[in-house]
Symmetry: D2
Subunit: 284 residues, 4 copies
């Protein structure tokens, strides 16, 4: 006689606020014999929006049942929802340039199980990252900057399809993606900006920050959208600096902030904690 197999799932729901939403959602889970381990629900009173994230365990047989009932509920309540099976490991494409500090951070975290994902490929317009790619046995793809943007993106699409990539991480990629491309991957491209957005958009943020004499520098992980450095912010971290620092030291200190911020943002996303609504995120 076999024990039923219990797996872990995450349910995400976002919809206009109304009474009884949590009760309805949790009843669906309860009736299917699920055990909720963590649930967070928040309603922004400013926007009258309901957000819910629930982590639960249930038998594999029950999950189809749950899916159907949530789907019904969703229709009635105009819900955006998703149900993730933790057994599925997401496949992410890593985009980089020459520097590898963010790349190492992510590859090591994934290897150690500190973040649940597989890196499907490393894509770069330089050759510097081939070495780290081969160490971690991740396929490396070179996309030449000699190609025009549309040709580059034709190639990118091909690579992403072949490697079964589900999302993209721009780990200091330094190239601009076309509006069409960013729309195709809406809320599936996570970028790290080396400035404390919305200050210091654009190029050379550390030079801007130094000239301004800021006392704290920061980095911002956000979804890439067609508006450069304007997409919804996922995470931000900062580091105090003192005025004996040169721009070069800002850059050095910044590397540490960047990699931590990107890793944290990616972890939040992989844990299905990131909701996007009205141009900003809500992290539960």
């Amino acid at each position: 006689m076999n024990e039923p197999l219990f797996s872990r799932y995450v349910l995400k729901v976002s919809c206009p606020d109304q009474k009884g939403l949590i009760a309805s959602c949790t009843q669906v889970l309860a009736k299917a014999g699920a055990n909720i381990l963590d649930l967070t629900q928040h309603t922004t009173l400013d926007l009258k929006r309901f957000f819910l994230r629930a982590v639960f365990e249930c038998s594999e047989e029950s999950i189809g049942h749950i899916r159907n009932h949530i789907e019904e509920l969703a229709k009635r309540c105009q819900m955006d929802w998703d149900l993730y099976d933790n057994a599925h490991t997401r496949r992410l494409a890593l985009f980089g340039s020459k520097t590898d500090h963010c790349i190492y951070e992510l590859l090591l975290s994934a290897r150690d199980g500190d973040m649940r994902c597989d890196f499907s490929c490393i894509i770069s317009n330089h050759h510097e990252l081939e070495n780290v790619a081969s160490q971690f046995k991740v396929p490396f793809y070179f996309v030449s900057s000699d190609l025009d943007k549309p040709a580059q993106e034709v190639y990118l699409r091909k690579v992403l399809a072949e490697t079964h990539s589900e999302a993209l991480v721009l780990a200091r990629y330094m190239q601009i993606l076309s509006p069409e491309f960013t729309r195709e991957w809406a809320h599936k491209i996570i970028n790290i900006h080396h400035g404390f957005l919305p200050a210091f958009k654009g190029a050379k943020p550390y030079h801007q920050a130094w000239a301004k004499g800021v006392k704290i520098i920061g980095a911002t992980a956000h979804f890439a959208t067609e508006d450069l450095d304007q997409g919804p912010i996922i995470w931000q971290s900062v580091q105090q600096v003192d005025d004996t620092c040169s721009v070069d030291q800002f850059i050095r200190i910044g590397k540490d902030v960047e990699k931590r911020t990107l890793a944290k943002a990616l972890r939040l996303w992989l844990e299905h904690r990131v909701f996007v609504f009205q141009g900003r995120t809500f992290i539960l």
Copy 2:
């Protein structure tokens, strides 16, 4: 025709984990027509303990109904639970000594509505706080250190009863309360310790920290228990210091950390976010 009066409540539940707990709780609320604004549920897998905090609005008529149904549920599931009416402003007794930095922080926060409570009295074994007490129109009570401990505590009990105090805040009180007294007010005495507990217990924590050459100092707000400086930690904050600081500067910087930490801990407690289980807190 009158609109029903909607008030805001907080429900706190803690019990051994089992399936369907959230569904049961939220159904009680849904059936009574309540609207949940924020709900956080966490099960510690290490201790198999379920914690839930829900903020909801409902009509005043429905609340008795909710109370009865939760009570039934609690019996079945060995729940510890509480239901707080936000309309009720808690009355807190402030205990102090000579310094008033924590006292001012709390009185100003309460006055501005940044923290929801009334201060029922200020109690001290010195006269320095009479001035601030009179400015904020809070009754001041002097308890002489010439009295022996039992006599002091007889007087304290009398004052606390007369002022309808529901909990105590030790804002650098510097006196030790008897085990009997702390047990009477179990989990209702919030103390601020000027050290980053569990390091630097006991007297002169800043002197200890300086001698040790720590690079970060901190303060810890915790429930006072009969074991000095050992009660469950509610909140901790830290501040980086540099090695040109003297002990006096540690003390000065520490004042700022202390008052912030105590205010934050008190706010968490007033928002009914603090659960105590197996000697530690869980803040939701």
Copy 3:
């Protein structure tokens, strides 16, 4: 026979970099029998600028001698320099509006000796601060917003002169000073901006920050210049926020960040640590 009186002084020097500058400065002090307690010197290689701050003790008789020799040196080396006698307590005018959280922070710090200054007056275009002014026995001056800007500033100049004010602290003043006025008090007006500059300039920074979904809010203390919110930054502090916060909670949390940031900036300025060069500060 009397002991010579030893007082404490701070020497600040800023000039184009060249060899032997520290040796020259410290020799002047050594020859006068001064004892240096703390000295920090930094040369920004980017700007080839030398900055020095020295705290020293010497007899009152020697200080004139030191002053003369530094003056000679300054001529040869194009030095900007200042020599401050710690025995002199600076007189600062506090400008406020309706909220008093920054005002209390500064008044209490000064009263406790945590910051060395006297507050010469409190000036406001509202009456709310009269109460705190009288508690701390600081003269209160009301400047009516019904007057036009020039008339207001005529009055301000008069008050500042009569109260022997040496510098101004804008503790959430909310009024704009004229370019002439800010130039008269160049690098002597310390303002607190309730945003993490250079992001969120102008009005309602917390509303801007919330709409943007930032994960960290901050405050910036800076010298007021004729360009609104653009003057050299003295200090910045931040606080992580979570996405269940409403704008109102941002404002509440921000109050705490603002007062700490302003107090820290003022303390740095009172300790003669703030150098201004090429539009930014260097804090030693």
Copy 4:
């Protein structure tokens, strides 16, 4: 005709306080034509101890001259002093166990020039680190735990001598060194402890911290001495945690804090900023 070669040096001085010390030191430098770029001097009034660190440039010919004059001065003033040539890259032996998060952090930082040192070898009682050692072309030495402690240390001494190691970094080494060994390498063994010392000494600090319900976890880099986890603290960092974290998450978050803290401490040491006096450090 050749330009003289200018190199960069760091002078460190520590001695009982007296007048004229900075003037004497800086005059030696000035007379030799040196240009000071950064100088920090601090006298702890509590301990009457003078500390000075100066970064300067001078011709290679002058440095012998400077050395002789400082030596003379040192005799008169009971100075502990050192003069470091930045052209010399220090050789450090890395000790590890199975986990490589700290090892990668240091190897990558050194490779990128973010920290100025060479890693002479990696030493471990496990084989897990052989892979990273070979990637970074650092010789790997296995020291078997089957050997008794004295035999192990005979071997360690041999390896350290052969690899010309000047100092040791214990990057989660997990083995205890003998008192003799730590004395031989006094203030030249930098260890990372995965707890916020002086709290949580000894084994399983994250388990201790979780049971205590701390709200902030930390790591401490310190010099290893014969008293386990008691050596002078070089650097500490912390990370706020929330109560939904399990012990495993503490361990995961801690890895990040550990590697940052160790890297920062090592950087401070390599920049000759760390003074040890009376059992604690002073970082200038």
